[in-house]
């Protein structure tokens, strides 16, 4: 069966087929036999040419978190994200103008007001989480278009808190 996975924004196309007691893996260039077992719900054991890999994995929504040999690898499926990778990149340029909280927390200070002129790296607001203050900084030279939050509000990391506008 063919699979597509995204790791670090790079698309990988591979295939894995069952063959008797083992599996056959191909990445388009080379093909090899691998021995794979579910060891327990969060552990997969992979043997390739005698090499033994213990893969820990867990899933959160569309993301697979894997850990092997002390290295963490996040694997996503292209179908899981509504847009393709290219589209997402376009979108991220748009997103740049929307300032989001880096993590869920509490807004403890808003340093700007709507329509105010801002410089790149200027502090727009301060969000506190886990007792650490984190400054939200402007990504551009421009203007504050809209402020969606108020001081003391608990915010998530998904929604934009402040929207910016490029200087014309």
């Amino acid at each position: 069966m063919d699979f597509e996975f995204i790791i670090d924004n790079k698309l990988h196309k591979i295939s894995l087929e069952k063959k008797e007691d083992c599996f056959v893996f191909s990445d388009g260039e080379k093909t090899q036999e691998v021995n794979i077992k579910f060891i327990s719900p969060h552990v997969i054991s992979v043997l390739i040419e005698g090499r033994s890999y213990q893969v820990y994995w867990a899933r959160d929504k569309e993301k697979r978190y894997l850990s092997l040999e002390g290295e963490e690898i996040v694997v996503q499926e292209p179908s899981a994200s509504p847009e393709g990778i290219e589209k997402r990149e376009e979108k991220s340029r748009e997103d740049e103008l929307k300032v989001k909280a880096p993590m869920p927390g509490k807004v403890i200070k808003i340093n700007v007001s709507e329509n105010e002129k801002v410089r790149k790296n200027q502090t727009l607001a301060i969000v506190e989480a886990m007792k650490m203050e984190n400054e939200l900084k402007s990504t551009i030279d421009g203007y504050v278009k809209k402020i969606f939050i108020s001081q003391g509000e608990l915010v998530d990391s998904e929604k934009p808190l402040i929207e910016l506008e490029l200087k014309e």
Binding site: V34, I44, E72, P104
Partner: protein, 501 residues
């Protein structure tokens, strides 16, 4: 000895204290906020009482409620852990008034050492070397400006009431002074409920060397040697070790005696830590007393064989120290790494959420003091420390290698942690060489971008993902049964075959 102790804290330190109590045959009462019903400390304690909503100020910092709970549950003593109320002299005093034993120093000593300004005055008077800086708490914001000019930039803003890096700011030039003061005061207020800050001369790249001290209620004081805690980020220790690569026996003895004098002058009892800065010329300066059990206490335990929590409890119950200074020796080497829920690739922003999977490293010479488990939620409300990984080995290099391996064996999936960063740090040639100063992170890890993933690991990750997809695709044609079987612990997952065989 006590029959029952209430622990006014959460997370790994509460778990650590509960274990010590269990070994000593003492019952434990956990308190918890509404966000912590499912926390490990609640499950492990003999009794558990909810003391309020998630914000610490309404729960873990709620003195009245905690004291009332201690009475209600008939706890004879309160162990405050570290952070929260641990260095709050008012709380210690309230306990004394309410006839509850506070497992920590007496409130008078706590008040003295907790007031960084007053303790600096006291120590200077006693002939203990201190860093140039403010000797009284400023009345006016302009005093900061004058003092900074007097001692010369860079200067350090520090919270009078606390430690742990909270409220600290380095100021390199005058125009940074006001915003840094504001932020420092806000943080201090939020962390300790007291916004007082003061200024000190900022020493360039010193080592941070502290001495663990135990003082019983009968005037006996011993030190348990040093811990070097120079590896810091945002003035927060992240790696600690003992012995310090920088100390020779003579200097160690001298600093140890100075630490004991600090404790004596302060009228301090129970466990405490005397912090020093050590400059390049090996001059040392008294910094402050940390009037609590330290996060990094395990490295001292592993090299001296003394259980500091047992000692805290014994001392608080009125027992005399059972050993003298001469009986104490350092053996081997110990290193601790603090595991934080932070994203090292994104400016160390805190990372809350669900720990989807946890595998704690275990093995000879490896200790893991943790407050988490597979499936637990890491709330946004509290300090992002998840656990501490501590190793012991015969010498520093063996301990270092063991730590590298233990970090590699450590799996936390679902939230960002500092594990990968720490592995690189411990593997760094300058760490290996023992060249550790407070500037270490900035100098060597200012631009850390993580390791490039190896090709082979990428390939195995793809294979495992495809394998797992094959299995999760199966259910689309018989989904219910298979999903049920996968969950069912009584299904032989190991023998489970793919492809309908």
């Amino acid at each position: 000895m006590f029959r029952k102790i209430l622990i006014a804290n959460r997370g790994e330190i509460t778990v650590r204290i509960i274990k010590a109590c269990q070994e000593m045959g003492i019952s434990t009462v956990a308190v918890y906020s509404e966000a912590d019903r499912e926390s490990l400390h609640v499950q492990m304690a003999d009794e558990a009482v909810c003391i309020g909503p998630a914000p610490a100020i309404e729960s873990y910092l709620n003195m009245e409620r905690i004291i009332q709970t201690a009475h209600q549950m008939k706890a004879e003593a309160i162990h405050p852990g570290y952070g929260f109320l641990a260095e709050n002299a008012d709380f210690a005093k309230k306990c004394e008034q309410e006839n509850i034993i506070f497992i920590g120093p007496n409130s008078k000593a706590l008040k003295l050492v907790g007031d960084k300004i007053r303790s600096r005055q006291t120590m200077e008077k006693a002939g203990i070397p201190i860093i140039p800086g403010m000797k009284s708490l400023p009345q006016d914001i302009s005093e900061f400006k004058n003092e900074a000019q007097r001692i010369g930039y860079p200067v350090m803003i520090k919270a009078s009431a606390g430690g742990g890096g909270k409220g600290m700011r380095i100021v390199h030039e005058e125009k940074e002074l006001n915003p840094s003061l504001e932020a420092g005061m806000r943080e201090a207020k939020s962390a300790f409920g007291d916004e007082s800050v003061y200024l000190e001369k900022f020493l360039e790249e010193p080592r941070h060397v502290e001495f663990q001290v135990l003082a019983d209620n009968h005037g006996n004081i011993v030190h348990l040697f040093e811990r070097e805690c120079s590896i810091q980020r945002r003035h927060q220790k992240i790696v600690e070790e003992t012995p310090s690569p920088a100390l020779e026996p003579a200097l160690r003895a001298k600093m140890g005696e100075t630490a004991k004098k600090v404790i004596e002058v302060s009228g301090y009892n129970n466990a405490g830590t005397v912090e020093f800065l050590l400059d390049k010329e090996k001059n040392f300066y008294f910094l402050e007393v940390n009037a609590r059990l330290q996060v990094e206490h395990p490295v001292t335990e592993l090299t001296t064989g003394v259980d500091l929590v047992h000692q805290q409890i014994s001392i608080a119950s009125g027992e005399k120290l059972s050993f003298s200074q001469e009986a104490l020796h350092q053996k081997g080497h110990s290193i601790e790494c603090r595991i934080y829920a932070e994203d090292p690739l994104n400016n160390f922003l805190p990372s809350s959420g669900k720990v989807l999977f946890l595998k704690e490293p275990i093995g000879p010479g490896v200790r893991h003091d943790g407050g988490i488990y597979s499936g637990c939620e890491v709330p946004i409300y509290y300090d992002p420390i998840l656990a501490k990984l501590i190793v012991w080995a015969e010498n520093r290099e063996l301990a270092r290698q063991r730590m590298v391996k233990a970090l590699e064996d450590y799996v936390i999936l679902g939230i960002k942690t500092t594990i990968g960063f720490l592995k690189d740090l411990i593997s760094h040639p300058q760490y290996k060489a023992g060249n550790t100063t407070t500037g270490f992170i900035k100098r060597h890890f200012g631009q850390w971008e993580g390791k490039k993933k190896t090709e082979k690991n990428l390939e195995v990750a793809l294979i495992a993902s495809a394998f797992e997809s094959l299995n999760s695709l199966q259910p689309r044609r018989g989904e219910e049964r298979l999903a049920r079987e996968m969950f069912s612990p009584w299904q032989s997952l190991g023998k489970w075959r793919i492809g309908g065989k």
